[in-house]
Symmetry: C3
Subunit: 314 residues, 3 copies
Amino acid sequence: MRHFTSVNDVKDLDGFVQKALALKKSPFAHKHLGENRTLGLLFFNSSLRTRMSTQKAAANLGMNTMVMNVTQDSWQIEIEDGVVMDGGKAEHIREAAAVLGQYCDILGVRSFPALRDRKTDYGEKIIKAFIQHSGVPIISLESATLHPLQSFADLVTISEFKKSPKPKVVLSWAPHINALPQAVSNSFSQWMTHADVDFSIVQPKGFELSDQFTKGAKIYYDQEEAFEGADFVYVKNWSSYKNYGEVGNYPKWMIDQSKLANTNQARVMHCLPVRRNVVIADEVLDSKSAIVIHQAANRVFSAQAVLKEMLENL
Amino acid sequence: MRHFTSVNDVKDLDGFVQKALALKKSPFAHKHLGENRTLGLLFFNSSLRTRMSTQKAAANLGMNTMVMNVTQDSWQIEIEDGVVMDGGKAEHIREAAAVLGQYCDILGVRSFPALRDRKTDYGEKIIKAFIQHSGVPIISLESATLHPLQSFADLVTISEFKKSPKPKVVLSWAPHINALPQAVSNSFSQWMTHADVDFSIVQPKGFELSDQFTKGAKIYYDQEEAFEGADFVYVKNWSSYKNYGEVGNYPKWMIDQSKLANTNQARVMHCLPVRRNVVIADEVLDSKSAIVIHQAANRVFSAQAVLKEMLENL
Amino acid sequence: MRHFTSVNDVKDLDGFVQKALALKKSPFAHKHLGENRTLGLLFFNSSLRTRMSTQKAAANLGMNTMVMNVTQDSWQIEIEDGVVMDGGKAEHIREAAAVLGQYCDILGVRSFPALRDRKTDYGEKIIKAFIQHSGVPIISLESATLHPLQSFADLVTISEFKKSPKPKVVLSWAPHINALPQAVSNSFSQWMTHADVDFSIVQPKGFELSDQFTKGAKIYYDQEEAFEGADFVYVKNWSSYKNYGEVGNYPKWMIDQSKLANTNQARVMHCLPVRRNVVIADEVLDSKSAIVIHQAANRVFSAQAVLKEMLENL
C-alpha cells in the first residue's frame, strides 16, 4: 500500500481486518516500527475521532505526530493551478504539500467537500495534489467523497459482532438539518460491496449515491422492506448526489426501536457525531443494539493497521 | 483516588502535599509509570498554565498527551439529555465522553460556568457527564465551581513558604472588570478549610461565596481587619454568588503595598492570569512578597501527583 | 549561545553551517541530548514551516514540545509596563514569560509587527520581554524585525548549491497585495553581509531596508542590472521601511524566466509561503531553478543546530 484513500488500496480485505484485530489485542507490539518516524495530520476541517484515534494509533507504533489545523494555525491554501494568487490565499498546495513531505514520513489529510459543485468535489483535487506533490504516503482522513479509515473500522466492528458468516448489512439514509457530505456513505458502500456481506442501501427517491461506489448493492426505497432480517443497520444522513447538496426533509426516516422490530436483532451503527432524536432516537443509542462506541474504538486499530503497513514499506 | 474533582478526592491532604514536593525534587523518577498511557486534555475554554503544566506533568511521567480544543478543533457538544438535536450542536456529551474514554486512559476536562444560571452552573453537568459516560478517571482542569489542581498547587506553595506550623491565610476579594467564576475561590476555600491553616475570607457585602465551600472559615468585610498578622494573602476576584454573576464595583479593594502594612510580611498569592493595577498593583507583583510564579511552577507537581496516583491505580 | 534572535548570536558562522549539515546527515545522532527537556513554542501569529520544522528538530533531539497559540488557546497578552489592565488583555507578558519559563527549558516565540508604528515594531518589545522575564533561552521564530532561523536555513541552502567559493547573491524586492513585514529581508541581509558571499539588494526607490541590517550590501534599483551574473536570486516582498508599512504597486517586479536570462543560471529562493504569479511566476517555481523546497527542508536542521547548542549549554 503506497497511499490509503479507498478500499482499492487494500489487496486482501479479510487479511487486513485480521491485522487490525491482532493490533487490538497487542497494540504496543510494534512500537519500534515508528521510531524516528513522523506522522503529519493536516485538518482543513473539524475532527474529534479521526484526530485522536489516528494520533493514538501513531503513538502505539512509537511515531511522533504533528497536527496542523490549516485554517487556524496556518495560511489559507490555493488549490487551483495557474492562478494569479492575489486573493485571500497565501500559499499554494504545490508548496504546502512538498514542504510537509519534507517534514513528515507519512501525511494524513482531511478535507471535506464544499457541496456546491459536484464535479469539483468528486474531482478530489486536494487529496490528489498531496499524492502528487508531497512525495510521501498519504492517508485520507476523510476526503470530499470517501472516508476509508471509518469504513475499515466499520468492517472490523462488523466482523467482531456478526453472528453468521455472511451477515445482512443495510445502509439507511436518515434525516439531518444540514447538507452533509456523501463521503461516509460512499465509502461504507464501497467497502461493503468488496466484503463478504449481503449489502443493501435504502434511501428516499432522489438520494441514491453515485453508482461508482454502490455497484453490487441491493437498492431499496422503503425502510421496513430493507430492514427485514438485517443483522446490521448502518444509519447515516447524506445530502443528495443527484440534486447535488440538497437536504432531504424526511423526518420519518429517523431510526427508533419500532423500525428495528423485524430485523434479526440488528446492531445499529453510525460513524458519529450523531444528532440524537434527529438521526437516531435516544432509545436506540442508549440500548445494547447500538455499537457506535465500538466503531469509534476500532478507529484506533484501523488507523494503526494502515500506519503499520506504510511504516513497513518506508 | 478514582477521579480528581475536589479536595474530597484526597484522603491524606498532608501526605499528598509531601508527594508533590517529592516529585518536585525528582520529576523524572517515575517515567516508566506512564509508558503506553495516554492523557486526553479537553478544553471547552482557554488555558495557558493548566494546559502546559498538565502536559508537562504527563511528560515527566512518560505519558502521551492528546489535546483537544472543543470549540476550535471539534464539534459543539450538547449537554442536556433527551433533547432533539436540531440546533447548532452536532455531538452529544454521552458519545463524546464515551469515545474519548476509548482513546485515553485518563481525561482532563476544563469547562467554565456560563454565569447566567446558578443552578445550572453549580449542577456541574459537564464534569459529571464525563464521570458517568467516559469509563476512565476524570481530572477537573477547572469546572464550573472548582479548580482543585490550582488549590492543590496553592497548598503546596503555602507549605513551602510558611514560617509557622499553622500560618494565617486570608482570601481577599479584589476588583475586576468582567464577571469571573467563583471556581478558584470556592476551591481555595475548600482546600484551606481542610488544611492545617488559620483561614479567613474577606469580601464586600453581597460577595460571600457559597457556604458549602467556606464552612469553617472566618468571614470578614474589612480588608484592614482581615489582613492583620496574615502570613499569606490570596488575592482573587469573583462575581457574586448571591446576585449570581454580578460584577462588584469596588476599585479600592485592589491590593497595593499599603494594604500589606499590618500583615506578618505576608506573601501575596494569585492563580494568574492577573490584571495588573486592577487586581494587584505593580509594586506588589514586582516585589518579593509576590509568589505567584512559584504557584504556577507548582502546578506541574500537583498535576503530576494526581496523575501518578491515577496511573498506579489503572 | 544564550539566545538566538539574530546573526549576532552566532560566533562562527561557517562552523555553524557545517553543524547544520552534519545534523542533516545524521538527524538522530544526538537523541539523548533532549531527554527530559521541554521546548515551548509560542505563536502570536500563524505558522506552518516554522511550527513544524522546529517541532521536528526538537523530536530529532529527543525533546518534548508544547505548542501554544496565544490568540486561540490562551489569553490576550499585555506588553506595556505600568498600564492599568482594564481592557481586553487578561495577562501581562511579565507573568506569561515567567510562567512559561517554569514549564519549558527553551522557548521559541513568534510575534509579527503590527506595521503601524515603526519605532514600536523595531523596539522588539515582545522578544525582549521574554528574554528579560522568562529565565530560559529564547529562540526567535520570527520577530517584528528578524527571522534568523529562516536566514540560517537559507545560508545552509546556499552553501549546498553554490558553484563557486564566493557566490553572487541578490535579494530582490517583489510585488505583493498586502503590507508584509521586513523581517525576512532584514534578516537575510544581515546574514548575507556576515557570510562569505558577494551580496546585493535591489528594490524600487523608497523601499530600501534599514541600513542597520544592510550595511556592506551593494544597493541597486534596477533588477536587470542587479541580476547580471547572479548565482542566487532571493525573492521577497516587503513593505516600505521609509514610508512605514506602505505597499508598493510595482507588478513588473515579479520574477519570471526572462528576468533570469542574464544570471549565472541563478537558483531562485523564497522563504515561503509564496503567492504564485504575483511574486514569482509558475514557470520559475516549477522549474529546476527554484530551490524553495530545499530551503524549507533545511529549516529542520537550522533549528536543530540552534537547539543542540542550547541543550549542550543548559
